[in-house]
Amino acid sequence: MLRRNLPGDESSTTRRNELTELYREHLALKKKQRWSVISVQLGILLLLFIFWEMAGRLKWIDVLLFSYPSKIFNHIVQEIISGELWGHLGVTVGETVVGFLLGTLLGTGLAILIWWSPYLSKVLDPYMVVFNSMPKVALGPLFIVVFGAGFTAIVVTTLSVIIIITTLVVYNSFSEVDANFVKVVRTFGGSRSQIFRKVIFPASFPAIISTLKVNVGLAWVGVIVGEFLVAQMGLGYLIIYGFQVFNFTLVMSSLFIIAVVATVMYQLVVFMERKLLSHK
């Protein structure tokens, strides 16, 4: 180009180049840090497994009680091939998903109900306090007597763990909505149901979504305890069974599978949360 740059132009171009350079350096540094964290994380896991394997093979620990990784992985692979795993996994995941969804739904529903009627909220208050302070799994035997030893009792145990805490958290977020938002709707003559649909619910939606994350974990607690108590199928059952027959490879591999599946479920919820709240 023949056009001559003015001195001002030139210096502003170099300035811009400097800025791009600084930004690029920042990105490179970030990337380096991320990789370093990931490799240390993997390293720790690997070291742990190697140490465990050695300890097992060299009989530093009682193999009968603690097993070791290669044994556990072998066991899992065999179960996958024989197809035995899928039945147990299906039952447990089914119970967890049903308990999780139903618990969240009922808990939110109950929160809506007591928001709707402050009178009902006052009446129910002591019951909620007692039930919330209670270790819910202690009610397990009662549920088995009422619902029979099986799927229903396990789901109900799960619900008892999830519902009240969901209700408390969601109701709390309902009451924390800025009263002035409600006032805006009221000035237009909005009804109570409009106040709920147009303000309270959308305003608390992020809080409701974040209870989902807590509830995934709680659902697993409910289901595994439920299975400890009554099941003839499921991962919780495998743990108890393995414990009773002193097959700790079975116990450990069940724990491993639970860890993997529970993490996957949690990540699904996190993914959903990001999708649903993307406009923020």
Binding site: V185, F188, Q194
Partner: protein
């Protein structure tokens, strides 16, 4: 002509677990069509209570409120209310925020939506319809709130210190905008404010309230030359300072009495 608002011997008592307290008492007030009235007074004089009563959000303990000659039973589309802050819903787009009133009163049509869109454009918000409130400045948000209030086409607007949360420059701009908009559409307005010069610059009539309980102390008519220009220039008009000092000393006197 029927006045737009009429308060007949209105009193209101707030009852809490601790006590019952008289917030406003023996209010007698008429606002005629197209008039712009300001309520000023010390804090605790029940300004917001009066607005809430006219908006139909509070039912007065005593007396009656007539809007266009009809006894007020609750919020009506005839009365629009603008709050101290915009309170736009963060999860709604600008257009959907502006349409809230129409939505709540079941009056969303392609025509009413187009009119609201046009209003947004008139307020300098063209191209902002599909973004979210947090992407706008405070002044712009308050303009969206104004459109939200105007969209349902109320005859009377209640303005509850709508400029108090804004910086000075934005506040002056918005005063002019609101003043012009209301005048063009021949709306009636009641403004509550702490700012005496704002009250004088914007209104036709100023009502001075005393506190504990809130009562009307005095009324001041704003001279024609101040009324006829926009608020920004009203401040330079002859007689502005005199009126300011007159209301100021009257206010001092009422607070001395209490």
């Amino acid at each position: 002509m029927v006045p737009v608002v009429e308060l007949n011997d209105v009193a209101h008592v707030y009852i809490t677990d601790r006590e019952a307290s008289l917030a406003v008492d023996r209010l007698q007030l008429t606002v005629s069509a197209g008039e712009f009235v300001s309520l000023v007074g010390p804090s605790g004089c029940g300004k917001t209570t009066i607005l809430s009563i006219i908006a139909g959000l509070l039912t007065p303990s005593h007396g009656e409120v007539l809007v266009k000659g009809l006894k007020l039973e609750g919020p009506t589309p005839e009365v629009g209310y603008m709050l101290q802050q915009d309170y736009l819903f963060p999860w709604r787009t600008i257009l959907n925020n502006a349409l809230l009133g129409l939505e709540l009163t079941g009056r969303i049509t392609p025509e009413s939506t187009a009119i609201t869109s046009g209003l947004l454009e008139e307020m300098g918000l063209q191209g902002k319809e599909n973004i979210y409130p947090h992407q706008l400045s405070g002044g712009m948000r308050q303009r969206v709130a104004l459109v939200r209030t105007l969209a349902t086409d109320p005859g009377l607007l209640l303005l509850d210190e709508p400029f108090s949360a804004l910086d000075y420059q934005t506040k002056l701009q918005l005063e002019d905008l609101i003043s012009r908009t209301l005048r063009e559409r021949n709306k009636t307005a009641v403004l509550v404010t702490h700012d005496l010069s704002e009250a004088i610059a914007m209104s036709d009539r100023i009502i001075l309230l005393g506190s504990n309980p809130g009562r009307i102390r005095r009324m001041f008519d704003v001279p024609r030359n101040i009324r006829e220009v926009l608020p920004f220039h009203a401040r330079d008009q002859e007689g502005f300072q005199d009126l300011f000092h007159e209301i100021w000393s009257a206010m001092e006197k009422t607070s001395d009495q209490e």
